[in-house]
Amino acid sequence: MTTKKLFLYFPPTKIDAPIVYHLVKEHNLTVNIFRAKVTPDENGFLVLDVTGDDENIESGIEYIRSLNVEVNEQSKGLRWEEEKCVHCGNCVPHCPTDALSVIDRQTMRISFNENLCIQCLSCIENCPFSAVKSVF
């Protein structure tokens, strides 16, 4: 079993296929959606984890691409700008997955582990220095 984080970018045209249903039902994938905004006639996005056999993940991605939806596995939904971060640590108790954490209790420096981020965006609301930004 593999888990992959996928970033889907929807073109500003109407796509009425129930994508998630097909991923679950026909490609046997477990889907965990983090963030989504899909509106007709506008650019949209969907950020999700898919879990399943490599083969099924491949066929699922192929299916999504056949709908003219861009699939990106490298994208980042959230950007931590280290040069803007003052390492105060106010974000840390608000991050539910420890993606933002104090890496060294001697220096109290903060680091961002993107793989743990579920894009709840609470860091953005709680950073006084705008050091975290959403790319969407």
Binding site: V86, H87, G89, N90, H94, V102, E125, P128, F129
Partner: protein, 396 residues
Amino acid sequence: MKTYEEINARIEAKKALVLTAEEVIGYVERKGLEQAAKEVDVVTTATFGAMCSSGCFLNFGHSKPRIRMSEAWLNDVRVYTGIAAVDVYLGATELRHNDPANMYYPGEFRYGGGHVIEDLVAGRKVQLFALSYGTDEYPRREVRTWFEMKDLNQAIMVNPRNCYQNYNIAANCSEKPIYTYLGMLKPKMKNLVYSSAGQLSPLLNDPLYETIGIGTRVWLAGAQGHVYAEGTQHAPSVNRTSLGVPTEGAGTLALTADMKQMKAKFVRGASFKGYGTSLALGIGVPIPILSPEILRRTTVRDCDISAPVVDYSSDYPNKTGKILGTLTYEQLKQGEVQLGGKTVEVGSLSSYAQALEVAQLLKEEIQRGEFLVTRPIAPLPAEGTVKPLVIKGKKQ
């Protein structure tokens, strides 16, 4: 025992032994107090955090024809003009014109006085808009122009209250989230927020104000400034430990320095959701080691410093004076504490990492012979409390 003059002679000869307030702890443990006091010349202390009582005086020079500004805005943030013709005072917590504040609660407060100050120090262009009623010698009624720091005659930061000696730890015991100057506090005390550099903090290393006084040269965001007065709300008469360390707010410093010499990294506009805007500053203060006792006080550790936990949903706004308990900075820096029978997550609004950097930068400046220590021209008051505002009629 050393004198200020002897220490400065060693600094000028680039022979001074300078340690940060963190390094000095281990140094004294190894060498012993008496020996270390002979060797160490200066201990550098520092802090980095939001200091709402910050602002600056700016002078624009005169336009042709002249204007006596009676109302003015910088990037739409109102400045105080009730002073001479083209002088203004810009305060860190001033909001931008048309900011809805908390009308859409909790407000975002994305840009305010603190951000204008950050923009100026970072060398960014800022828009000035000023109005006037017009006078015979100042006939211009309106001006709109762009400027940057180098165009100003003076830009002097003047902060009536910085470097709080110690500070509350904020909690929220209510059933709903609250938004404060110590950040968002989750309901039912799910998190605590503190704001102090603890063992690095200037006034915690000189708790009885033996070397820090009026006239002391300080490192204010990279510029050499000085303490110009006791800070507002300076209240030294509080409970203290046997080392003299206050277990609550206590002393404060009023600081000033030339903003043109400041480093942008240590002057940062801040937005607190639901509260407002502020300015975060990096400040360093050197402590000359005049005696073993002064050295002993600089070896204070996070485990020796405690602060009160205050409920910001009721006890703080209603000024009940009640506290939920006390915690040391050593406990707080673990990120999790036990309080009221449960485990609570801890966040911070001051940056220990940036304070460490300031202490190191100041240490290097002293080692290079570029930053001398100063004998205060007057001490800070050693006694005093904060008076409350009593609401009363004219004849009461």
